[in-house]
Amino acid sequence: MTTPASHLDEVVAEARELVEDTSFPAVHRWLESHPDGKVLCHFQVYFPEEVAHAAGMLPIKLLGAGGALQVRQADARIAAFVCSIVRSSLELGLSGKLDFLSLFVTHPICDAARNSCGVWARNFENIPCQILYLPHNVRSTYAVEYLEHEYRRIGNVVAEVTGRPVETDALRTSIGVFNENRALIRELYRIKRETPWLLTSVEAYVLTRAAAVMPREEHNELLHRALAAVGGREAKPQDRVRVVFEGGFCEQPPIDLLAVIQDVCYIVDDDLLIGLRWLTEDVPCDGDPFLALARAYIETSSYSPVQRDPAKPKDEMLLGRIRESGAEAAIVAAAKMCEPGLEEQVGYSGALDEAGVPHLILEFEEKATVFEQVRMEIETFAESLLFEFA
């Protein structure tokens, strides 16, 4: 790649630093300019951050610590066969890196995540710890009404923490900020799909992931700069297999694993950080904003192994993602010890076999540092496809 890619490199480097620095520099910067500000940390996968934002809170996404933190204290508090992200997220708290925490929220996405609420509540006795009960029976006639109330309930908790109620107009304004963010991320993904040679998988990933750890207005500004820089980049398409990466909805694969994949493949779509892209369209800013968010969660949303929705059969959704992105193959991954991901992997594999889509099954752990074996698997997979497609 040639100039002005260097400008994009700078933006990506800025994002990567924020993503990899477990001291949360953007959060501390925000706290310096908001001395009375409160920070909400929510576990994966989806949280309506607008609700916290509207009350002046800074919502950040807990994504574990990858390999950046040695898990010591959390191992003594959580059973051995629980995934890494649950442990390393707790370790972030126990090691004092979340000393800004004012409210912790987790979700019933899996049994380990739901259990986390109790573990956090016992270990952070002065911090409110909450479970936001997103509905599992989303096609019930009563689900939207239930979820609207649940969002209002969490809004009341936020108001207790901040001393500031979630006002209707403020929530509409916040929805606007997050709509802009989602639109920018959609644009990033359009580039990945249509011209993946202009933006590497790792670049797109760190640019997206930075949203998890910084104020959303700042992230919008960062994405504007990145997208402008991509437009000026000159690069030519290469002979690489176009793949969809599936399995990054909760625990995140190491960035180096994505780099290994991008060495031989274009990841043209994925479910990485799907919570940031859960709402697939703009949420209406008029009408009742709580209701609008609840409707959007159910009606205009993506899919993942941790949400059952009979209207969105996951096998068909994955095949649709592959089709719409023009992918030739899929990498179906799952995090080690991730019950929903590992179970879904079998179903996905069967559906891909039936549809004749070549795919590679992978297992990863966020803290992995050695990729020689997986590199060989991916290269062999890609080479076999290149011969097949030749």
Partner: protein, 437 residues
């Protein structure tokens, strides 16, 4: 389940003194055989069957449609007790299922993949699945059957414990309305599956049986406040809750618990404990290991340790220990309220049960807690080490944390477990001496 046998230590204390002694175990075998006979007959005749789960079976609704209930947790557990689980686990792993997921799921999937021939009978294909969210794996499990059989799946949402800020009355009402709405939708689904109309008077009959069952179940658990405890909550307790799950809402289940209570009271009258000498009274958190069930119990019984209470009897007993009192004048509304309440107080309590555990230790005069984490179940196992540490720090309650699995024999490490258990009892013995002094 009914195949369970007492350890040699328990046998020695169970010499018959009256006709009641041992009657409950005989009756539980008979009822479990009858349950299997009904499932086998249903498979042969093509009668619709519902697959349900113990933490929210909705038996109250399903019984109104005479839908036999297949409980895969029970049938999976039974394969392990009979030493057969590995062949099904292997079949599922050969089909691509990871060694790191729930063993119950894999045993059941293996059963379905190999022709549904269970050691106790024939496992029918589901005509309907009712999967509550009380365990997230239930939902993934249901989706496996859905992919296999294209059967209808009703995921029943029971919003549970919300964390440390509590819930207002308004919040509870929102949850209740959601649950009531889903109950009405489940009724419609059952009507579609069976072709039968819903009969609210039949629902009243079933609710009335569950009211009696719940009261009896609580009385049974309370009998273990006696010294010595008349039953082991991980051995006999498993039979009690197994029958209560399979026969919930049926008069046979109620009669079974009446018999159990009679036997327990007789044992108390005769000062007949589980063991010849009850030296330590234990609270069990988590499940047992069913691939090594007898050995698991033996590790404790040989030290004179008896499980006088198990948290398992609450959540895996379908929450009927939580004083269910259905109002028969408003059956569906009341069913919604009570189901939600038991979901909160029983199933959800798993995540934050330290205060309940401390209370049990006081009320049942418990010497120590055994936390048994199993790889198969993150619902019950994830936070166990933390609770153990919390109870030691805040209440000076001794706790043992060990890990193996429900049904996967590969995860049982006998020497390691015995070392841990022995060290725990040695510490408890020293502590008793110190306290007595």
């Amino acid at each position: 389940m009914s195949e369970t046998t007492a350890t040699p230590h328990a046998h020695s204390a169970a010499a018959p003194h009256s006709e009641l002694i041992g009657a409950t175990r005989d009756e539980s075998r008979r009822l479990m055989d009858a349950w299997w006979a009904e499932l086998t007959e249903a498979d042969e005749s093509g009668r619709p069957v519902a697959n349900v789960f113990v933490m929210g079976s909705f038996a109250e609704i399903l019984r109104c449609f005479d839908l036999p209930m297949s409980c895969p947790e029970i049938s999976s557990l039974q394969t392990a007790v009979r030493g057969k689980s590995m062949e099904y686990l292997n079949a599922a792993e050969d089909a691509g299922y990871s060694p790191d997921i729930c063993g119950y799921v894999k045993v059941d999937t293996g059963l379905h993949l190999t022709g549904r021939n269970h050691p106790n009978g024939r496992l029918p294909k589901p005509s309907l699945v009712v999967a509550p969210n009380t365990c997230n794996t239930y939902i993934k499990w249901a989706e496996i059957w859905e992919r296999m059989y294209r059967c209808p799946v009703f995921v029943f949402d029971l919003p549970g414990w919300r964390g440390t800020n509590g819930q207002s009355a308004d919040d509870f009402e929102s949850d209740r309305a959601y649950v009531e709405g889903q109950l009405r939708e489940l009724i419609t689904t059952c009507e579609q599956v069976t072709g039968r109309p819903f009969d609210v008077d039949r629902l009243r009959e079933v609710l009335s049986e569950v009211n009696r069952l719940s009261a009896l179940y609580r009385d049974v658990i309370a009998e273990n406040k006696n010294h010595p405890a008349p039953f082991d909550a991980m051995l006999d307790g498993l039979n009690y809750m197994g029958i209560c799950n399979a026969w919930r809402g049926d008069p046979a289940g109620t009669r079974f618990l009446e018999l159990a209570l009679d036997e327990l009271r007789e044992r108390v009258r005769l000062h007949m404990g589980v063991l010849a000498e009850e030296r330590f009274r234990l609270l069990a958190i988590g499940t047992a290991c069913y691939s090594h069930f007898r050995r698991f119990l033996e590790l404790f019984h040989e030290w004179g340790g008896v499980f006088v209470v198990s948290e398992y009897m609450s959540y895996a007993g379908g929450g009927i220990d939580k004083a269910i009192e259905y109002d028969l004048d408003r059956p569906i509304e009341s069913l919604a309220e009570q189901t939600l309440r038991s979901a909160n107080e029983s199933f959800s309590r798993i995540f934050y049960s330290q205060d309940w555990q401390a209370e049990v230790v006081r009320e049942w005069d418990v010497d120590g807690i055994c936390f048994h984490g199993v790889k198969s179940c993150r619902t019950v196992s994830t936070g166990q080490p933390d609770v153990r540490e919390w109870l030691m720090r805040h209440h000076d309650i001794p706790g043992l944390h060990i890990q193996s699995d429900l049904v996967d024999a590969r995860l049982w490490s006998d020497a390691q477990l015995k070392n841990r258990v022995d060290a725990f009892f040695e510490a408890l013995a020293s502590r008793k001496v110190a306290l007595d002094a």
